[in-house]
Amino acid sequence: MTEILRLEGLTKLYKGKEGLKRAVDNVSFTVNKGEIFGLLGPNGAGKTSTIKCICGLLKFEEGEIFIKDNSIKENRSKGLRHISAVLEGNRNIYWRMTVSENLNFFAGINGLSKRSIANRMAYLLEAFQLTEERNKIVNHLSRGMKQKVAIAISLITDKDIILLDEPTLGLDVGMSQEMRIILRKIAKEEGKTILLSTHDMKVVEETCDRLVIINKGKVVAYDTMENLKKLFNQLIYRIVLDKNLTPKARSELKHYINSDINEEEVELRLSLQSPNELFGILSLLQQEALGLLALDRLNMSFEEIFMNLIREAEGDEISI
């Protein structure tokens, strides 16, 4: 696997009314050639700021960004040679021009002749199912169509790395699904590296190979999709008792307990490595004369894991 993009301690500060705000705080990760890499985080996490720093549209205070080993700080234009991007909400296209006029224009200002891109344009229009729309004015297209046009434009120049800020934002279920299929296709057929930001778990789950989760500018998790999914398959059991835990039971169950328990609570959430651990737990409860009202296994969605990681990072107690 060859590394194509590397962030080292990226820090972006904004001057605000309450002094300096660390919108991106010491973020480091690497993206490999040909993978779809996710940048996941809630609103205001710093996703857009991170992407803009990579595109050279935002000057950052600390850290470094390397695109194919070119430092963006030292040689912006050399780095930009490998990058194209669609920023928030498909605003990067001229709404008053047609689809093919847009494609030609953006190829042109990147120094490509109309003739040299003719084949690629036909390929992209086909891949995005935009051939019929090619002579329509962008403003007359639906939101999903506009988003497809925006992404097609980012591909017309045939750069290696495509940055997509919230590519499925505001799309309906069907369109979002179509977009995910297109993204996978681009990565696979064309060997493009895609870095996409989103707060939609489904998108990352279905498309990303690896991802970094950020919250309040800080990296909360950085791993392969597979490993994060293991977290997903954690065994979480919910146990409801007829009375409060005894002190002995509480101390012995402490390392299983996955949620806040206050004195009053009779409902516990336990996280186990293996279902066999239940034998020990149940006999302990029996010894302590605690009655069992309910026992069931909980399925944790990716979203819950995500929220948990964020809460953990914020230093709160974990709860599911």
């Binding site: 904004y14 001057k15 700021s49 803009k52 595109c55 050279g56 549209l57 935002l58 000057k59 234009s77 930009l80 040679r81 990058i83 194209s84 991007a85 920023l87 909400g89 605003r91 990067n92 296209i93 001229y94 709404w95 008053r96 021009m97 006029e101 030609n104 224009f105 953006f106 190829a107 042109g108 200002i109 990147n110 120094g111 490509l112 002749s113």
Partner: protein, 258 residues
């Protein structure tokens, strides 16, 4: 080659937009002509065709056409940058390998050509209407205007920079309009400071060509020094101011926000 293709792409875009919104441009021109005709007939009625007014009518005719063109050229630069920032396309223009300055210069060259054509067009219609005859030495006028207009792009860039950072460009453009009127009616360029104002020297030379029949060869090297020097000066100032604004915007992340 890359630079040429990006220049051609900018031309294409201007052409496409003009083609699609030509109606707006035509309306602008019609309003312009109506205003001109009313001022002209009003003045004629008062002055009853005396010789002195005939003289100043020539000046008015040229000055008014120059002002219209100058206003368009200047606000075009400022408006288009601010407009692209608002739409979000400015960020894309900043992400190409081709430096943004080149795209900007391409755009200005195209605007210059368009505005000079418009200038010739309205001058001719005005001559037809008023019966005033002027020396239309196309080459001399073209070259003088081509160089002279760059001083106004300098001012346009300052306004664009202010627009990027402070988000207030319409009111400023309004104010500049009046300053430009001032520039067009300043009677002479004898005072040293007046010479240094943007476009005054260009206006002075255009008047000499069109009213006195001077040609490019009729101007002295001092004339050319002022024409080229002032354009270079204001363009450089404009670029410097824009650079400062651009650095601020890149720091604050405002290239795409308006």
């Amino acid at each position: 080659m890359k630079y040429l293709y990006s220049f051609l792409a900018m031309c294409m875009k201007e052409w496409i937009e003009w083609k699609r919104y030509w109606f707006n441009s035509i309306i602008g021109l019609i309003i312009y002509m109506i205003v001109f005709i009313s001022i002209f007939t009003g003045a004629q009625y008062i002055g009853q065709n005396n010789f002195a007014l005939g003289e100043s009518m020539e000046g008015f005719l040229i000055g008014y056409a120059l002002w219209f063109m100058a206003m368009g050229a200047m606000s075009d630069t400022a408006n288009s940058i601010v407009d692209e920032a608002r739409k979000g396309t400015l960020e894309q223009l900043y992400m190409t390998e081709i430096p943004f300055t080149w795209l900007l210069i391409s755009k200005n060259i195209i605007s210059t050509l368009i505005y000079i054509v418009i200038f010739f067009l309205i001058i001719n219609v005005q001559m037809l209407f008023t019966g005033i005859s002027l020396n239309i030495d196309a080459i001399s006028i073209f070259i003088t205007l081509f160089i002279g207009l760059f001083s106004l792009y300098g001012i346009g860039l300052v306004l664009a920079g202010i627009g990027l950072v402070f988000k207030k460009v319409q009111s400023l453009l309004g104010a500049t309009q009046f300053i430009l009127i001032g520039i067009m009616i300043i009677p002479s360029v004898e005072a040293p400071l007046v010479k240094l104002l943007p476009f005054t020297y260009t206006r002075h030379m255009i008047m000499s060509i069109m009213r006195e029949g001077k040609g490019l060869l009729g101007f002295s090297s001092v004339d050319y020094f002022y024409l080229v020097g002032i354009s270079t000066l204001y363009l450089a100032l404009g670029l410097a101011a824009y650079r400062i604004a651009e650095a601020q915007s890149l720091k604050k992340g405002m290239l795409g926000q308006y």
